[in-house]
């Protein structure tokens, strides 16, 4: 597994699932149904406020585990983080 932390451009379908993303001049096509899951953050180390009603975004992170391939290369598993606040995407992990 390789840890990465780079912004990527992602194309999504109507239900918000990634279908394609580009990273380091390569374009990756999603080849099977992506799996969305939720991870968490150690807000006690990062946040400056935690008042009632601040919402789960202080704690929660939306993650996507996808299988994708570049051109005719064999597919790899990637993990993306989706930030709901600015609709930005981050590539965080590549599985071997």
């Amino acid at each position: 597994m390789i840890q990465v932390d780079e912004t990527v451009k992602v194309l999504t379908n109507q239900s918000g699932e990634p279908v394609r993303f580009s990273w380091r001049n390569g374009s990756y096509q999603v080849t099977s149904r992506p799996e969305r899951w939720y991870s968490r953050k150690p807000w006690w180390l990062e946040a400056s406020r935690a008042q009632r009603g601040i919402g789960a975004q202080v704690l929660e992170v939306e993650m996507w585990r996808i299988t994708a391939s570049k051109g005719i290369n064999s597919p790899n598993q990637f993990e993306l983080v989706h930030s709901q606040a600015d609709d930005g995407w981050q590539l965080v992990r590549i599985f071997g």
Binding site: W37, S48, G53, I54
Partner: protein, 1092 residues
């Protein structure tokens, strides 16, 4: 079928796995919030499934009834070797499901009892036996992500999981009793609560032919509450966040139906399977819906059976006879004429009791009261029960309701059907004996203790919040101490308002963690933290009690219900409040000491209630140690009020409460009483009702009578109106105006009275309660007046008051009651009265010595008397620290032949010799043996201890300054400053500028009419107590010392508050010990200067 199809859209969803805030340190939502949310999603049923108990179940059922949805109740419980599962009572089966669930919980809890330290869990055998009764399913078990199969699908392979499921099917062969719970919190694929786990569980269930159901394993209402969940997790783990594995994300919330359907699709990846999953869930939910009435015997009053009470025949006839036979006892030598109103009233009360079917209830309480008296334990009733003649005649209460004009209708009426509360005060030291006797008398199947939910308040919330964020304990202590009488819910708002938080407010601005702490403290506020034994409640039921409430072991060893006092009424359970009152123990002790020392027997309940000397003593305001009227505020009120009879005490106790104070009722009453103004009795019809309280409406009973006279409604109806007044004023106003006008009262009178009633709301007090309290007030004042030594000995032994013991010492000095020092030959574990040449004195008890162990105390008392120090050391076997402390406070002086023969220094040296010996038990044979018996061994010539040193030792080791008042050492400085002694204050003019000094003995911050905070500080300077009042400005000037500094100097102006009352309007305050240091430094400088 497509996603948009009608069937799919019309399918409902019921949340079956919901942990409420009563899953301590786990859930964050109260049952009413959850039920409300479910109802707002148009769900028509909701479950509660708390950890290890039914702590929130009754509240849940009540909340569901309010929302008109069906309640479902289960428990999340460990099954031995099989992980955690959820077990539900099935419904509509005449309670066999509910009973089985209660027993499962009780069994699991009881298993954890004692020293075995076993975790709370149910054995497979017990579970399999209880979920089926005569072939019928009583309960259904849900195997979810935390069960052994849930773990196996993740950690092991499919075969292992399938085999474990097969084991379950063999253990629980009835198919309705077992289901598989499918949950996805959308966690990392492959982990617990992931969609992958859900998929595998689903497959497993289908293959095994078990019905899978969908839940969301809910632990909070909304995603936002997940942060609160993190903090609760830290409190549960007792570790800061970041140390333990936290919850995976924020998905465990009460999701609406649409989201749950989406989840079903995501897990099943098939419309057909998703539909089936939802259908199963609804089918199971339907089978679990409880009918509160037929399943839980909801709200139907339950009392012990006749046989358990030892009565035969019709309970009402028995009650009739018992009450009538009490007439001769309570009203001896009354003529038939005078008894007529007694009989009339009794008949009316009995008719009501019979109509309500409560005869057995009264017989039960009477039986308990009789049992307590037979144990020779002092009792007194409290609360509205004192308004019942029946209670008086049965010996449940000790106040005559006819003499004191108390109303039965305030206590009980046909307008209400819930069991009334009868509260009994007993000697605190004997309370547990009474509990055990009740268990013995009625049997363990009919009795349980009541539990109590503790909730997070300011300090607890800061502490656990601080723990979660990893603060140092000292730092949290500091912050916790500054939280004083405000709700943690508004912590942030208070930062800018309270002067004592100013420092913290500045820190918060720059410290991120402190800033977070403020937020999470607010989040924790009011959440339930844990369950504990209620300080006074016992539940008495019939032999089915343990089928209606789950129980768990209490600290006392007796079983305790998981329900709290608010659950009693809905469950129709009879709760007896047997409250341990230290004052009752103190008085019982005083009476025993009087009898022991002088041979006199006193029946405190039979003494005359108009003793002039007692009231004269009360009027001096030296009421320290007297029940209910010893607080600074009550002393001030006593000075103004100057009570002369028993009824005055009832009024004073009722007046000194937040309501009347806020409602400004005290001043008009006092003005009328002292003849400054003519009381306004409003209308001749009301004069008899209002005369005794100078036209001020103080009591509930007066409201009842006013409504009765002016509207013509019955007293019972009037009490209902009084209760409604708190909720629906409009309704009562309409009723009152219509009927009073109809009866010919002018608009002016109706308006006046309505404005009184309108304002009355929360102000009033039940006179019966006031009168019941006035009795021990009078009795303790009587004892203090006539037997001060014995009474103080009782106070020292049982410590009933609000003040530290050292203030009692000051009071003893003031009264001229001699206190004898600790003496290992004479002191016991109680403060005994001793006859001396100068009369009676009190011998200090050994128990107050700092650090002494119970076994040391027992040995000293058992082995005494001792011949000398060595003898004491050998036979009492005190620890080194204890013998040294005993020497320091003078408890060994007599063993050295009295203080004239040897100094404290000699004694300490001898102790040193002895304790050194002990560490070398085998002495060299060549060395001469130390003769243990000989007094000649006493060293001599060592320095005596200074008075100041002695007082310091006493304060450190006993918490009391026995030799002299601790302020004595500051006297030179105080004299130089012109500090006034508290006993001199009464001779000063109003508005004199003064300085007072002393030891803080009380700090109070009662609610005020204006809503502003006022702080009262009481100081003791050895000559008595003085009270200082701090308003806003004075509070901010003295914010550094306002709450925590022990020795204070206060500047201010005197304010006369009555004939005998003076208090100080404070301007500023300082730390006396700090001033002392400065003073000494300066004096040393001066001394050095002078020498030059």
């Amino acid at each position: 079928m497509a996603i948009g199809s009608n069937l799919w859209l019309s399918m409902s969803f019921t949340h079956l796995n919901v942990s409420s805030a009563y899953s301590f340190h786990f859930g964050t939502a109260k049952p009413d919030q959850l039920a409300q949310a479910a109802a707002s999603f148009s769900q028509d049923a909701l479950a509660i499934t708390d950890d290890n108990g039914l702590y929130g179940a009754v509240k849940h059922i009540g909340a569901c009834l309010d929302q008109n949805i069906a309640p479902i109740v289960g428990v999340r419980l460990k099954v031995e070797n099989r992980g955690t599962v959820t077990i539900f009572s099935r419904g509509h089966n005449k309670g066999i499901g509910w009973a089985a669930l209660c027993k499962i919980v009780s069994k699991a809890q009881t298993r954890a009892q004692g020293k075995t330290k076993k975790e709370i869990a149910i054995s497979e055998k017990d579970l399999s036996e209880l979920v089926v009764l005569d072939g019928k399913p009583t309960c259904t078990i849900l195997l979810g992500p935390e069960s052994d199969i849930g773990q196996a699908v993740i950690k092991a392979n499919a075969t292992v999981a399938a085999r474990k499921l097969l084991d379950w099917k063999e253990l629980i062969p009835v198919s309705e009793c077992l289901s598989v719970e499918i949950v996805s919190h959308l966690t990392e694929p492959g982990s617990s609560y992931s969609t992958l786990q859900a998929k595998r569980m689903l497959q497993l269930a289908l293959t095994a032919g078990l019905k899978p159901v969908l839940t969301n394993a809910v632990r909070y209402l909304e995603p936002d509450d997940a942060l609160t969940g993190d903090v609760l997790d830290a409190a549960r783990h007792l570790e800061p966040l970041g140390i333990f594995t936290p919850q995976a994300n924020a998905q465990a919330w009460l999701k609406p139906e649409a989201l749950m359907k989406k989840l079903a699709l995501e897990i099943t990846q098939s419309q057909e399977l998703a539909t089936k999953l939802l259908k199963n869930t609804e089918e199971l939910a339907n089978a679990l819906r409880l009918d509160p009435v037929s399943d839980c015997d909801w709200s139907r009053p339950k009392t012990p059976e006749k046989s358990a009470l030892g009565i035969e025949g019709n309970p009402f006839e028995v009650l009739w006879q018992k009450a009538h036979s009490g007439i001769n006892w309570r009203y001896p030598n009354y003529s038939e004429d005078k008894l007529l109103p007694v009989r009339h009233r009794l008949h009316q009360e009995l008719i009501t009791i019979n109509k309500l079917g409560f005869a057995t209830y009264f017989l039960t309480v009477a039986d308990v009261a009789q049992m307590i008296r037979d144990m020779r334990i002092r009792t007194a009733a409290r609360g509205s029960g004192a308004g019942s003649l029946t209670n008086y005649l049965l010996g449940i209460s000790g106040v005559d309701p006819i003499e004191h004009d108390l109303l039965f209708e305030r206590f009980l009426s046909t307008e209400r059907s819930s069991l009334p509360d009868i509260d009994i005060d007993v000697e605190s030291a004997r309370r547990h004996d009474i509990y055990r006797a009740i268990f013995k008398r009625y049997g363990g199947n009919r009795v349980t203790l009541l539990s109590m939910q503790s909730t997070y308040r300011g300090r607890g919330a800061v502490r656990d919040g601080g723990l979660a964020l990893g603060f140092e304990e000292d730092q949290i202590d500091e912050i916790a101490k500054s939280i004083w009488r405000f709700s943690a819910r508004n912590f942030r708002g208070m930062l800018s308002k309270k002067p004592e938080l100013e420092k913290l407010a500045q820190l918060v601005e720059h410290d991120r963690r402190l800033n977070l702490l403020v937020d999470i403290t607010e989040r924790l506020d009011r959440l339930p933290r844990h369950i504990s034994m209620h300080p006074c409640g016992v539940i008495l039921g019939n032999q089915d009690l343990l089928s209606l409430t789950p129980v768990e072991p209490s600290g006392l060893g007796l079983p305790m219900s998981q329900f709290d006092k608010d659950d009693m009424d809905p469950m129709g359970m009879l709760k007896l409040d047997i409250l341990g009152v230290r004052m009752q123990s103190s008085m019982a002790y005083a009476i025993r000491e009087i009898e022991r020392v002088s041979g006199k027997t006193i029946d405190l309940d039979a003494i005359s209630r108009d003793d002039k000397e007692t009231f004269r003593q009360i009027r001096t305001t030296n009421t320290l140690g007297v029940f209910q009227i010893e607080s600074p505020g009550q002393r001030e009120l006593t000075g103004k009020h100057q009570p002369t009879e028993f009824n005055d005490l009832t009024i004073q106790i009722s007046l000194f409460r937040p309501g009347p104070m806020k409602g400004n009722m005290i001043a008009p009453y006092l003005d009328g009483r002292h003849g400054f103004v003519k009381p306004d009795l409003i209308h001749p019809d009301l004069a008899p009702i209002l005369k005794s309280t100078q036209g001020v409406v103080i009591f509930h009973e007066q409201v009842l009578k006013i409504l009765n006279v002016m509207t013509g409604c019955s007293l019972a109806k009037a009490d209902e109106l009084r209760r409604t007044l708190e909720k629906d004023q409009k309704f009562v106003e309409k009723f009152f105006r219509q009927n009073a006008t109809k009866r010919g009262y002018s608009k002016a009178v109706v308006d006046r009275i309505w404005s009184v009633l309108e304002g009355f709301g929360s102000f009033g007090f039940c006179k019966a309660h006031g009168a019941a309290f006035a009795l021990p007030t009078y009795q303790s004042a009587w004892l203090k007046t006539h037997y001060p030594t014995e009474f103080l000995a009782g106070l020292f032994t049982h410590d009933p008051g609000m003040y530290p013991k050292r203030l009692l010492l000051s009071e003893a000095r003031r009264l001229g009651v001699k206190i004898l020092p600790l003496d290992v030959n004479k002191s016991k574990d109680e403060y005994l009265v001793e006859k001396t040449a100068d009369g009676l004195a009190i011998r200090m008890a050994i128990t107050d010595l700092h650090g002494i162990s119970n076994s040391e105390i027992t040995r000293i008392i058992k082995q005494a008397p001792f011949a000398d120090l060595a003898d004491f050391y050998l036979r009492a076997c005190p620890s080194r620290a204890t013998i040294k402390r005993l020497a320091l406070v003078g408890a060994l002086d007599e063993l050295a032949g009295g203080s004239t023969d040897h100094t404290r220094g000699d004694i300490l040296e001898r102790v040193r010799q002895l304790t050194a010996l002990k560490s070398k038990p085998k002495l060299d044979e060549n060395q001469p043996m130390l003769d243990f018996e000989a007094k000649e061994q006493m060293p001599s010539g060592f320095a005596a201890i200074s008075t100041a040193g002695q007082i310091q030792a006493e304060l450190d080791l006993l918490g009391m300054d026995i030799t002299d008042h601790q302020l004595a050492k500051y006297q030179p400085m105080l004299d130089q400053m012109g500090v006034v002694r508290s006993s001199e204050l009464v001779g000063l003019r109003s508005k004199t500028e003064v300085l007072i000094a002393g030891v803080r003995v009380a700090t109070q911050s009662p609610p005020m009419r204006s809503g502003k905070r006022v702080v009262f500080i009481t100081l003791d300077d050895g000559s008595g107590c003085s009270d200082a009042t701090f308003f806003d400005e004075a509070q901010s000037r003295s914010s550094g010392v306002l709450f925590n500094t022990k020795l204070l100097l206060i500047s201010g102006k005197t304010r006369r508050t009555g004939v005998k009352g003076v208090s100080i309007m404070a301007e500023n305050a300082w730390d006396l010990s700090q001033l002392w240091q400065d003073y000494r430094q300066k004096n040393q400088l001066v001394a050095v200067e002078n020498r030059k």
